[in-house]
Amino acid sequence: MTTIKGLRARLRALLHRGAAERELDEELRFHIEMETKKNERLGMNARDARRRALRDFGGIEPTKEAHRDVRGRWLEELGSDTRYALRTLRRAPVLAATAILTLALGVGANTTIFSAVNAVVLQPLPFSQPDRLVMLWEENPEKGWHEQYCAPANVLDWENQVRAFQNVTMYFDGAGVSTLTGEGAPRILKASGVDGNFFDVLGVRAQLGRVLVPNETWSVDGNPHVVVLSDRFWRSQFGADEGVIGRSVRIDGHPLEIVGIMPPSFSFPVEGIDVWIPQAWKYAQRTDIGFRRAHFERAIARLAPGASIETADAQLQAVAGRLKQQYPETNKYMGAGFTPLHRFLVGDTRLPLLVLLAAVGLLLLIACANVGNLLLVRAFGREREAALRLTLGAGRRRLAKQALTESFVLSALGGLAGVTLGILGTRLLEQLQPPGMLRVSHFEVDWTVLAYVLAIVVASALLFGTAPALWAGRRSPAESLKEGGRSGDSRRMRRWTELLVVGEIALAVMLTLGAGLLVRSFRQLTQVDPGFDSHGVLAAQVVLSGAKYDSVSQVRAFVDQLEERVSGLPAVLGTAGTSNVPLQGTGYTSDFVIAGRPAGEYYTEITHRSVTPDYFRVMRVPLRRGRFFTTADRQGAPPVVIINEQIAQKYFKGQDPVGQRITFDKIPNDKSEWSTIVGVVGGERQQALSADPLIEAYIPFAQEGSPGMSLLTRVAGDPNALAPAIRRVVAELDPNLPISDLRSVDDIRVRSLATQRFLMTMLVVFASVGLTLAIIGVYGVLAQVARRRTREMGIRIALGAPAASVRWLVVRQGLTLVAVGLATGVVGALVTTRGLTALLYHIAPADTITFVAVPVLLGLTGLAAAWMPALQASRADPAIALRSE
């Protein structure tokens, strides 16, 4: 009886007795009084009059309920339900903490990844009317070019002739390396070479001073004279002094006048630009053939007001067609096109982000299944309490709503904790993301992210709260109240929990399979032979520009001295210079012609690299035929070239290339320089470990130098230990020459896989968390099953069943769940992992090893999870077990 009284008190406490409620009370009391008085007037005694009044009214409480319904009881009940939920959660702190933590993990991971998706994919570019901006590109089916860099002369023609373009600007992609001198120690700057109308086309203004003006694209002497600073550089170098406008600074040896400071939010084309410098073409260059032959500029157009994409494209195609005929030598196969700027810039980052988003989505689903199970198990434990409440007149809908409210409260708390985790996560992601993987380096948890989080929190609550709510609303009190009752309801609930467990195992399997594929792919990548030996080599990059290195001989003299000094350092085994370090991108490409082939026959896209004689020995690139370069291969000596074996295989089938001559002109003339092939070497992977070696020609550095060069030094021991000595040698040779990059080639190799490693690590982390949650789910459900069957076990043991067979009962149930989950997950993964294809290197999306290893591993873990409850069940003492219920 005390229980019932207590329950009643609790139920009363549930009702919100606010002002509205008191008013309603009074109003109804007034009504009954009036009715009673009327009845008394009609001749009834006081007692009958009141009874009659009450009867006529037809039940005060239902009226109140109906009244509350109209009043917006929902909100009011929500308040009381919320308080009730908070109280019940406080009474079960372990359950509440587990559920909240689980949800927080899921929501936090989603917050973090979505904030990146938001910043990279969803947010508009920080330019004026960014949807009117398009990225122009050139294509050339003959060379296999698509969305390629543009030749400046072509872009100038498009700008003049395509009327649907309001204006067009060009810039040099990425960041160049420039040197600031005369302001303390020489400083390497990330510089962007842009046209004068660059800022106008993007529609951005300076925060101080002015941006560049269109005629600053051109320069009489071919040198820039003005510079625009980034906010960051302005602050770090000049302490945000507004007086620097108009001041002159020396960059790459040229005095440049500071004309403006950009706002902190602006850094384009890449993050972390320090200075924007005009490209400063000589006006005469417009007609130079090189201006139409060399493709190295990015071009952005702003569509004219009212001009449609279609019009612009039609006009561009017409102009490109005319240029083909007008300049067949350079433009015969050259097509043009454009893509909305935002889509172009998002480009490759979309897929990894979507994969991560899908992964955290799966994680959240698993978390929801787990919390749903927790709640169901708990609901089951409170079955009799709920049954009592039903008997006392609580509506089924009301109980269901209360259960749902509890889920929402949990979800809200988990969401809150999740957002906090998520904000920390974004900071972590900013730190961990490999540079250049995502277009932006800063992710905000802004309103868009919060709205998304709110949506997933509500969706989660509905997901994991529906089953307990249905369960709460469907119970039959009579069944539940029976001592030890086993109702149909409880079987239905067990189905639910089993379904949830199967579901979360399936999701975890999918997640783990995806992660497994990336791990396998990454392993493949690390085992790729790059064509050189990266171990024990230090790479130091310098840019030899400015007045001091104007002539080829000055550059060569410097490199000779540098090599000589460095090779004298202790522990140095060899040193060599190169224009391009492998895995860091290629040099320029050209067409080429082999002497003696039919007239007019040429080949395209040969990559050029200048190296000093010891390059191949330092990098341990194997010689296949002929010889390496020697110091005799100097300027003035006969031009020589070494080709990689890819050229030999492709263009010298069955011939010995050594001794043959090639030229890098498409149509040789009497001015063409023919180089003799003196050697064939193994191919090096120039762009990435995942990309096969391109056809490549090595030229002696002495015959064709390059302003940007890296000194590669092979040492005995740790190459990084040599770094200070290299710095000292460079500073001794030229105090104003900063080293722009100094790292081991091993490091370069590791960094070239940064994106893949990052993606793989993230997926492995998400999969581990998902897997742990799923295993906890399996364990939880089986433990509960085992508990519920304790009496049965006890009877079996009492009747003489061996412990092993009792154990097997539980384990079998667990294994069935795990097996069904595994099968579902594998089928699901077979469909979904296809989306990973573009991210996998030499691994099929349905890779057999992964698809066998992961389920086996998960099956074993599942077995372990089933074993523990089974062990407990089999130890059931019959005497205790029989008394337990």
Binding site: F30, M34, D48, G58, T63, A66, D69
Partner: protein, 113 residues
Amino acid sequence: MPLAPSATPDVLRGTLDLLVLKTLTLEPMHGWGISQRIQQFSRGLLDVNQGSLYPALQRLEQRGWIESEWQTTENNRRAKYYCLTSAGRRAVGDEAASWRRYVDAVELILQIS
């Protein structure tokens, strides 16, 4: 004492709002008064189900057609009085018109055969 079943029909669903509004066109009135008035005016033919009266008042108030205020009755009892708002006055006309259309329509159908 056994209670006789009521012989008066309940107010048709959906028409209660109209009856309440119409009643209130006369003067502000409390809930009990409204139920008495409806009974009176219909010469005892209609009996308002009290259980639906108060939710209906609540609904009308939410719709902005009536307002409520606590006042003292002639017998010095506090009661909640309801009165029509101007929107409520307009609504009476509309509701009455649509009720008449409805009655006419039903009448037309009943005339078949």
